[in-house]
């Protein structure tokens, strides 16, 4: 009898849903990468860009596509997917749908690092990366270290509530230090500081992308081990542990991976808000709560989302190019409010 009933129910396993999710969101992300570079001050055509009969040296469209526009679009893709992934992980780990890459003070730490580098005219480079992004990346890990230390000091492993409250406190504290450092800055530096804090994807070459890929790629390895564990941890530490999850170990993997991704994204583009908060929610509306679908879908949709926002930023009052952080906040705020009202 049991089997007779079971036979009538659909046998759609997570494999099938995962394949569909990757196909659909992968197509969206790929099309965004391919089409976004076509728009800009000089219109170019896709057919000309990929016209094999034209030598590259004579193909202006191809040069604009590959050299002038694609790096920025790829930067948007990397930053968008990293912030979205970090948002998913922080929301599950802290068991709080309002969590974002900003919650634990990681991006505030990154901002402080950048402010220090700009204000004190730090001039060095590491692996071909300039002082501001390096200092920003170091800052993100400084903040994570403080927050993690606080929560681990309370007891073995990490305490969610201490992480959350500690993160919010550290974030407020760091904002004060950021204000202090900005106060010390002169006129030009202040201008650079303010512009940096708006979050912008002003990337015009490939080396910064390759440098960002090192921490981001490392975080992807960490994320790959997490999906099912995040499902279980989001239900509760106790039930996760009773199902065989090494909760403490995976919490560390999740925290470090999400912080690596956030730190690298902020170092590359400055603090771009709302992406890490709303992309996971939008994706869950479509694929459901299962993190084996939410995580890859958010990575792909986060990329497409930020490419789209940057497209608006580049073109809405052309030839001026707005910082993308302004657009994400203007789009993200109302979208989040809509999500909020929709639920209640």
């Amino acid at each position: 009898m049991t089997h007779a009933v079971a036979a009538h129910r659909p046998r759609v396993t997570v494999r099938v849903r995962l394949a569909w999710t990757i196909a659909v969101f992968g197509t969206i992300a790929f099309l965004a990468c391919l089409l976004a570079p076509l728009a800009g001050s000089t219109p170019i055509h896709l057919s000309t860009v990929f016209d094999r009969s034209l030598p590259y040296a004579d193909n202006i469209d191809a040069q604009i596509f590959w050299v002038a526009r694609l790096p920025r679009v790829l930067a948007a893709a990397l930053v968008g997917s990293s912030l979205a992934l970090a948002g998913v992980v922080f929301q599950a780990l802290l068991r709080n749908p309002l969590a974002s890459p900003d919650t634990l003070g990681v991006s505030a730490g990154a901002s402080l690092g950048a402010m220090i580098a700009i204000t004190f005219n730090l001039d060095f480079s590491l692996f071909g990366v300039t002082a501001v992004p390096v200092a920003s990346f170091i800052g993100s890990f400084g903040a994570l270290g403080i927050v993690y230390g606080l929560s681990a000091a309370r007891r073995r492993g990490t305490s969610t509530i201490v992480l959350l409250l500690g993160g919010v406190t550290v974030q407020a504290l760091l904002s004060a230090v950021i204000a202090f450092v900005q106060y010390l800055a002169d006129f030009t530096q202040t201008f650079r500081n303010v512009r940096w804090l708006m979050g912008s994807l002003d990337v015009a070459s490939y080396p910064p992308l390759l440098a960002a890929l090192i921490p981001m790629g490392t975080s992807w390895i960490g994320f790959a081990t997490l999906p099912r564990v995040l499902d279980l941890i989001s239900i509760g530490h106790e039930s996760a542990a009773a199902r065989g999850v090494d909760v403490d170990r995976f919490e560390r993997v999740a925290l470090v991976s999400a912080s690596l991704a956030t730190g690298a994204a902020v170092a590359l583009a400055g603090p771009v808000s709302f992406v890490g908060l709303i992309v996971p929610h939008l994706v869950r509306l479509i694929v459901g709560a299962d993190h084996r679908l939410v995580l890859p879908a958010s990575a792909l949709f986060g990329a497409a989302f930020l490419i789209g926002c940057d497209l608006v930023a580049r073109t809405i009052i052309a030839p001026l190019e707005l910082p993308v952080g302004i657009i994400t906040a203007i789009i993200g705020g109302p979208v989040f409010l809509w999500l909020l009202l929709r639920k209640s």
């Binding site: 049991t2 089997h3 009933v5 079971a6 129910r9 046998r11 396993t13 997570v14 494999r15 995962l18 929301q91 599950a92 068991r95 709080n96 749908p97 790959a224 081990t225 099912r228 499902d231 279980l232 989001s234 239900i235 509760g236 106790e238 039930s239 542990a241 009773a242 199902r243 065989g244 999850v245 090494d246 869950r284 459901g288 709560a289 299962d290 084996r292």
Partner: protein, 263 residues
């Protein structure tokens, strides 16, 4: 099936004197029985359940499951045989009922392995066994308290059909749902031979459900044995410091406990 011998446990309190929460507790659980774990607040029931689930390691003594020491088993191996049903389950995200039950398959899958149709069948059998098959595609959040607890029990069955540890499974429920869950546990035990250890505050639930009870006070074992002989007015006074009338209720078919006053 399960044998706890001389189990002691202290929480590290940071100072030199750690508080002993479980003090040399020994008891046996036979296969196919339901054993009740009774005791006042702070008596160590939850700690004991966590030790049995392998989540905490006893300071001394050991827990043996079918001849193998629990602390020597890997988390995954243990999770395939012993499942925990918590008092309440809150989900942060909007999981469907079948999602919740499939999560029970976690210890049976490799690190990157996805569920196969066979896992789906196991999850659906668990839904059938708990009478929640028609809820399969509902959102877990929208269920009533009793339905939620039945789904969580289904997830536990999909995880390990051998031994269920239930930590105050009815405390958060109203009388109707309490009865519903108690009936389900009885039926699972009768039809599937599922072994259960149920920690509870509800003496009447223990009386109706459990063949044996283990009485715990301040981390020490006060008494244990068949429910009919162990759940006496005298033991209840010892345990809760309350005078109670314990009678056999003919229509219910088990003992009933009515507290009358402080001695």
């Amino acid at each position: 099936m399960l044998k706890a011998s001389d189990v002691s446990f202290s929480y590290e309190s940071g100072r030199r004197t750690a508080r002993r929460v479980i003090d040399r507790v020994s008891f046996d659980v036979d296969r196919g029985t339901i054993v009740g774990l009774l005791g006042p607040n702070g008596s160590g029931k939850t700690t004991l359940v966590r030790i049995l689930a392998g989540m905490l390691h006893p300071e001394s003594g050991q827990v043996v499951l079918d001849g193998a020491s629990v602390i020597e088993m890997s988390r995954r191996d243990l999770a395939r045989r012993v499942a925990l049903v918590p008092q309440e389950t809150h989900t942060t995200f909007d999981f469907s009922v079948i999602d919740m039950v499939l999560m029970g398959r976690y210890p049976h899958l490799g690190p990157f392995e996805l569920e196969r149709p066979a896992d789906l069948d196991i999850a659906r059998e668990a839904l059938d066994a708990t009478g929640t098959a028609d809820l399969e595609s509902r959102s877990f959040r929208t269920l009533s308290g009793g339905e939620k607890q039945r789904v969580v029990i289904a997830a536990a069955l999909a995880q390990a059909s051998d031994l269920l540890l239930l930590d105050e499974p009815t405390t958060a429920l109203d009388v109707g749902y309490q009865f519903e869950v108690a009936m389900l546990l009885k039926r699972l035990n009768a039809e599937h031979g599922t072994t259960m250890i149920v920690s509870t505050h509800d003496l009447n639930l223990a009386a109706s459900l459990c063949e044996r009870v283990v009485l715990l006070k301040s981390g020490s074992l006060i008494a244990q044995g068949p429910t009919a002989e162990t759940l006496t007015a005298e033991n209840i006074r010892l345990l809760y410091n309350v005078e109670a009338d314990v009678q056999f209720h003919a229509r219910a078919g088990h003992l009933t406990v009515v507290p009358l006053g402080r001695p």
